[in-house]
């Protein structure tokens, strides 16, 4: 085995430019495979982590009612109904709206989340990203106080909003008692949290709820509870005006659409690898033609057909091996660059691609296999040469 590798290297190094160009095809293919797969994996992991941070024991009920459409959306009645379902630990209604905000005379539309002040921390403290930078969460009895997303504190308004400052929402003053750390997600970072009742009063929507977060008691099946919530809501509402998801369902739905992306990525990468393989086959056929006489010499000096076959298969396999190695290396570099970019533009930890050892192993094995397969036909041609005619060439 070792001697075949030695001979292959010797043969390939004789025509360096050709060997490099041939390997380039495989390098591009494997680079594509490695970077695409690692991006795909990174995306899947990112999504999974976000939802897992939300908690797999949580169920989210959202109203499908659009703003301004008349009808019965989710209400406080639904909230108290869900509270009575067996297996429900606690229920936190939310009301979210885009409202008019004002700070130091500067007016801007701002996303406001209304929450039960007594439940705000329990609802969100274990959700990824919701960590306090300064101050405190909403507390029971809070009315005209607000907790800010990081960007609202930092650069949403022309001047920074600090603890103890007041901002106006729909014309009414709210004192800042807390600021969240940056999450990287603008939807979170550019929103503020206030008392749900206070917010609904301001908006004139006393009983309305846009979403309900339900936490399931330990030991209860999340899907069963979800089904009960759905049944209970269906009894109160005509037609479907709401969606009920568990975080697991969301993970599954998004994971499967990411799978599709990965397959498409993988397909594109696969095509480039096939092109690389054709390059190897082409070079190897040229080699066989050029080395016809040499094949005659090998046969005259006692090479069996299988030895000739092995010599050429090793050569094409070596193309695959080097292409694979270099491809994995470049794929790794690309993945690292993407991580840097993602950290700078999307925020830390949002997208982390990874070239795992098993991905590297499979990519290199795959490249060797592609090389050997590409070498089959040229090697067969070499084997089939008649020694007498080959010597005469």
């Amino acid at each position: 085995m070792l001697q075949y590798i030695e001979l292959s290297l010797k043969n390939l190094s004789y025509r360096k430019a050709r060997a490099i160009l041939t390997t380039l095809g495989v390098i591009i293919g494997i680079t594509a495979v490695v970077s695409m797969v690692s991006i795909g994996e990174g995306m899947t992991k990112a999504v999974r982590e976000q939802f897992e941070a939300f908690g797999t024991n949580k169920i989210l009920v959202t109203s499908t009612m659009e703003y301004g459409v008349r009808g019965k959306g989710l209400t406080d009645g639904d909230v108290s109904n869900i509270e009575d379902i067996v297996g429900v630990e606690f229920v936190s209604p939310m009301y979210s709206v885009a409202a008019g905000g004002e700070f130091k005379g500067e007016e801007k539309v701002i996303t406001v989340w209304g929450l039960d002040p007594g439940k705000a921390e329990r609802t969100f403290s274990d959700v990824g990203g919701y960590r306090l930078l300064k101050g405190r969460w909403l507390e029971p009895g809070d009315r005209n106080v607000v907790v800010l997303g990081y960007r609202v504190h930092d650069d949403f308004f022309k001047s920074k909003v600090e603890l103890g400052n007041s901002i106006k929402i729909q014309g009414e003053k709210f004192r800042v008692v807390g600021i969240f750390k940056e999450t990287g997600d603008p939807e979170h970072d550019e929103a503020v949290m206030v008392n749900i009742d206070k917010l609904r009063e301001l908006m004139g929507r006393e009983k309305s709820v846009t979403a309900i977060v339900v936490r399931v008691k330990p030991g209860y099946d999340v899907d069963e509870v979800r089904q009960k919530i759905e049944d209970s809501l269906e009894r109160r509402h005509e037609g479907v005006e709401f969606d009920v998801f568990t975080s697991q369902q969301l993970i599954n739905a998004i994971s499967s659409s990411l799978k599709v992306i990965q397959v498409v990525f993988g397909g594109i990468a696969g095509v480039s690898l096939i092109v690389g393989g054709i390059g190897i086959a082409n070079t190897m056929i040229m080699n066989v033609v050029e080395r016809t006489q040499e094949i005659g010499i090998m046969k005259a000096t006692g090479a069996t057909n299988s030895q000739v076959m092995r010599i050429f298969l090793f050569e094409s396999g070596v193309f695959g091996f080097f292409g694979g190695m270099i491809g994995v290396l470049i794929g790794y570099i690309i993945s690292t660059i993407i991580n840097e970019l993602a950290e700078n533009y999307l925020g830390p930890g949002v997208l982390t691609t990874a070239v795992t050892p098993s991905l590297a192993f499979y990519a290199i094995s795959f490249a060797i296999l592609a090389g050997v397969i590409s070498g089959l036909y040229p090697a067969y041609k070499a084997v089939k040469l008649d020694p007498v005619e080959a010597l005469r060439a």
């Binding site: 001697q3 000096t301 006692g302 090479a303 069996t304 007498v388 010597l391």
Partner: protein, 225 residues
């Protein structure tokens, strides 16, 4: 061990198919070569002497008749069995030298041992010895292009001796050499014969051909004397 036929041909015919026309190259050859003999096969070009040489060298199979090497009929053997016979029993010396240009002199000599699976240390040692034997002890790392014609032919002889074969088949070994180098090659071959190797020399150069113990003349695919 003189007296034993190392090569025997019985009623051997070889016909080539060229553009669907059958061209007879050999038309019924009967021939015996004794172990340790020094035989020259002489004839004009196109007489069939190269075809005969290929059959004796187990590079080709006869269309009709049988070829025996050390008493074994090789006319119906598979490609791989023929390869093994070439590897163990026969050493080729070609007019065109047929060295692999990428490999150094010593690597070229190693080749038949490589195919026979001789371990590297032994292989290199023996290849070096063989190169010294043909007087190229100081040219081992040279590539064929860096060697003169005579030197190349000596590398080729060293290679032919790699697996210590019984028979050395030399096809016009002096054809591409000047007289002096040619003479040198002939001397090496004759020395090998003195050491017991069976030498089969194909040539159209009378002077060299006449030096053999047995001379086989061939014309139009038949032995004429």
């Amino acid at each position: 061990m003189k007296g034993l036929d190392i090569v025997r041909l019985e009623g051997v015919e070889k016909t080539y198919l060229m553009d669907r026309v059958k061209v007879p190259a050999l038309r019924g050859i009967n021939l015996s070569i004794e172990k340790g003999d020094y035989v020259s096969i002489m004839g004009p070009s196109g007489s069939g002497k190269s075809t005969l040489m290929n059959l004796i060298g187990a590079l080709d199979r006869p269309t009709k008749g049988r070829v025996f090497i050390e008493g074994r009929d090789i006319s119906k053997l598979s490609d791989n069995s023929l390869a093994r016979i070439r590897r163990e029993k026969i050493g080729f010396v070609f007019q065109q030298f047929n060295l692999i240009p990428r490999l150094t002199a010593i690597e070229n000599v190693e080749l038949p041992m490589w195919f026979a699976g001789v371990p590297k240390v032994q292989r290199v040692k023996r290849a070096a010895e063989l190169l010294k034997l043909v007087g190229l002890g100081d040219r081992m790392k040279h590539r064929p292009t860096e060697l003169s014609g005579g030197e190349r032919q000596r590398v080729c002889i060293a290679r032919a001796l790699g697996n210590d074969p019984e028979i050395i088949l030399a096809d016009e070994p002096t054809g591409n050499l000047d007289t002096k180098s040619g003479e040198g090659i002939m001397r090496i071959l004759e020395e090998l014969n003195e050491r017991g190797k069976t030498i089969v020399l194909v040539t159209h150069e009378r002077e060299f051909g006449k030096r053999a113990n047995t001379i086989i003349k061939i014309r139009d695919g038949r032995i004429v004397g």
